[in-house]
Every structure is written in structure tokens, then in C-alpha cells.
């Protein structure tokens, strides 16, 4: 009788489904995929290529490698990068040279596409792996990447 056959088959499929969830239930201690986020800050490590925010590394003498070529500014699709620059006399060569005053980065507008970092000829800007970027005030998302008083590393040319 197909009537009772249907009932039997139906119940069987239901029990198969319950066995799947039941197994997960019993192994929950090992299976759980949740991260206890604020508690695991110490152990939570992003991958090296993770795109957290754009930073400009400085060495111990407070020197960066940004020549102010503005390639990142041109590469950026939405104007997240603004470079304020000037021509100053380079103390070493004595010639006039393009130097950055401020490398401004609007984290609030950035879409993390990575085109600026690809475009940079001197690797002056890099991805940082931080992931806690929220702030209370929108203006805090506009960052000046070069530290105050920093200079370009000697010998870096476009």
C-alpha cells in the first residue's frame, strides 16, 4: 500500500535528518565554530595579507620612503588619499625636490581595494592587519600617515 509506504518513507527521511543534527549536538564541544571575539583578542591573528587599513611604516630615525609621487592618489578610485606636498631643497644634493607635507588617508571612504599599495613604487604604504577600526567620531577616521617631523629616507628616488 503506497499510503503506508509513504508514511514509512516519510518518517525514515525525518529520522535521517534528525540523526545529522543529533550528531552535531553530541559533538558540540569540538565542533563549535564560534569565535569568542572580544575575549580572544590576544590569540586572534589576521593573515599577513589581510587588508585592515593603509599605514606608512617609519624607521627608528622617523624616516619614511614616500617620495610624494602621488601615484597612490591617482590610483585610488574614490579619493581616499590626499597628498599635500611642496618642493623643498634636499639637504644632501642641494637640489629642489618634491617632498610630502601630509599624506592624508580617509579610512572612512576606503574600500580596501589595494590599488594604492600596488601602485606605490617605493613601498612607502602597506596594509596593516588591525581589524578594530571603529571610532566614536567620524573625524578620527581621517588619518595623517606620515608622522610629525618625519623625513624621507635618504637615497629613495622614484
Amino acid at each position: 500500500m503506497s499510503y503506508f509506504g509513504d508514511i514509512y518513507k516519510g518518517i525514515k527521511t525525518l529520522l535521517t535528518g534528525m540523526s545529522v543534527t543529533g550528531k552535531v549536538f553530541l559533538n558540540n564541544k569540538n565542533n563549535s565554530i564560534t569565535q569568542q571575539y572580544p575575549d580572544n583578542r590576544e590569540t586572534l591573528k589576521m593573515f599577513n595579507r589581510f587588508r585592515g587599513e593603509v599605514v606608512m611604516p617609519h624607521n627608528e630615525k622617523n624616516e619614511h620612503t614616500c617620495t610624494g609621487c602621488q601615484k597612490c592618489e591617482i590610483a585610488c578610485p574614490n579619493g581616499s588619499i590626499e597628498i599635500i606636498w611642496d618642493r623643498q631643497i634636499d639637504p644632501e644634493s642641494g637640489k629642489k625636490k618634491k617632498m610630502i607635507d601630509q599624506h592624508i588617508y580617509h579610512l572612512g571612504m576606503c574600500t580596501m581595494c589595494g590599488l594604492c599599495i600596488e601602485a606605490c613604487p617605493t613601498d612607502a604604504i602597506l596594509w596593516a592587519q588591525n581589524y578594530e577600526n571603529s571610532v566614536y567620531d567620524r573625524s578620527a577616521l581621517t588619518k595623517v600617515l606620515n608622522q610629525p617631523g618625519s623625513k624621507i629616507m635618504p637615497g629613495v628616488e622614484d
Partner: protein
Amino acid sequence: MILSINIVENNMLNMLLIAAIYLGIFSVAGLFLVLLERKVAAWFQLRLGPNRVGPWGLLQTMADALKLVSKELTGTVKADKFLYNLAPYFVIISSLMALAVFPFTQEFQAFDINIGIFFLIAISSIGVIGILLGGWASNNKFALIGAMRSGVQTISYELSVGLSLVTMVLLTGTLQLSEIIEVQKNGWLIVQGHIPAIIAFMIYMIAGTAETNRAPFDMVEAESELGAGFHTEYSGMKFAYFFLAEFINMFIIAAIAATVFFGGWLEPAWLTPLGIAEVFPAIGVFWFLGKTFALVFLMMWFRWTFPRLRVDQLLTLEWKYLLPLNLLNIVLMALIVWLGLTIQI
């Protein structure tokens, strides 16, 4: 146990006291059930569940309840104010009333009437009026669809709940819950009635899940179809009443099954020779709650595994499958009782 009560001999004050105790116990129990559901759901779903408020998240639902109490009660402008406000109380009161007749142990029973099963079936179907009222009075189309579905669903599944219990009443010959348990001293009814009793139990669990409007029968709320169904327009404590009532109803359905099929507060037969129950009768509460929570867990297991039925399939299931099977089952049970084929331990 201390609460030996006979309704006729006690005065008003006593009754009020007992009512207050029951209300207190079961609102806390309802909150605990919500927590249990969330924990069980999490464990089925590879999650950890609430674990921030209190140890192991035990106070989570308390915090939720506090939040709900302090929330603003919003409503629709064109709602029927009186019915809109009445609905949640209807639902919660009817589910709390049903608790009165359960025998937790031999002597811990508030209200031992001789039509216990009948009372339970009757009371548990009043709750749907609250849902209908709420859905209608909210003046929201989603709520109205949810309410209408609930009406259809409860009318249908009420039959199956009733008939599967009637099957068991054939065995016991009484509707009084304390006497039903007395009969089971010769073996739980699911053992006594063997095949028809097992069928009746399965039908009862399916219909009972539908009766409480839980998945896979949650047509009433069906959040992927109706948003929140009948309680779309409720907020704060009024929503909490609906929510709590759902969980208390689940407890009630499981408790009826534990009482009627699994011997209520009776300990398993293989434990009887140890004589724990005679020395310490209150252990019955443990057995009763243990059985009930096992069945509650089963209902949660259903909920977190199965997809939802469509509204017409819901009715097909009832009228084409459960009801004819149930009627056949009653005949089968009658034959078994008549021929004396029950298993007595």
C-alpha cells in the same frame, strides 16, 4: 510534600497563596525553558549559545525579560485597542491555567479534578482565541494571515490531540490524572498499550507540536513568510506574554505526554525494588520533570531540524494521515483492551 491541597477544604487565602507560588515557579520555569531552547538550538547549530550573562549564560533570559519589561509598548494607530490589549493576557492565562492540574508527585497537585484530561484539552485550545484576537485587532495584514492560519491549524490538530489521548483513556478508564498515574503502577501506558499506544504517542507528539505552533508547524509566525505573524505589532511585555506562553505550552504538551504515556512521577520499573520512592517521595518531581524535559528536548530537536510545512500540506497531514490513522488506532486499542492483550508488569 508540603503542598497537600484539597480545594474544597481550604479557604480563599490558601488558594491565593498557592496560585502565587505556581505563578512564580512557572514564570521562572518559562524563562528557563527559553534559555534551554536557545542553548539547545546553539548546540544543534555549531554555536555556543548565550554565555555572557551569569555563569554559562544562566541569567540571560532574566536580562531579556528585564529589557522587555522596560520597553515601550507600541501599537498600531488603527488597532482595536481593547482586543489588542486583551489578546496577550488570554494566551498567557490559558496556558498558566493548564498547569494547575498536573500531578508533580503523589501529593504535589494543585487541583485534582475528575475530568483532568478533558480540562487540559479544553484549556489548551482557548489560547488560540488570544492569537486570533491579537492578529485581528493589530490591523496588520501579516498579523491577520498569521492569525487565520493559527485558527485553521488549531481546529484541525485539536482533533488529533484529543483522539490520541482518548485512545489512552480507553486503557485507563478514567480522565482523572492522579488515577491515570495510579493505573500505570502496573507499567507505563506506552508499555501496557504497546503498538497502538506507540502510534498514539507519535500522533500526539506531532499534533502537540502543531498545537503549540512550533516549527515545523510554525505557520503562525513563519518568519520567512510573514515576518513575525500574529505578534508583528506587539512589543515589550505584551510580546513577552506571547513568547512565554509558547514555551509554557510546550511544557504543558510535554507534561501531558509524560503523564499519560510515561507514568508521570512514577520511577522506572527497574528502580522500584530499591524503594527510593517510599523513603523519599519527593523524588517523583525529579522523574516527572525528567520525563517532561526529555520530551521538550524532542520537540526542540524537531524544531531545529525540519523545514516548515506549507499551510495546505499542514491540513493534508492532519486530515489525510493523522485523523484516519487515529480513528483506526482507537479501534485497535479498543480491541486490545477488550481481548485483554495489554502488557501488565
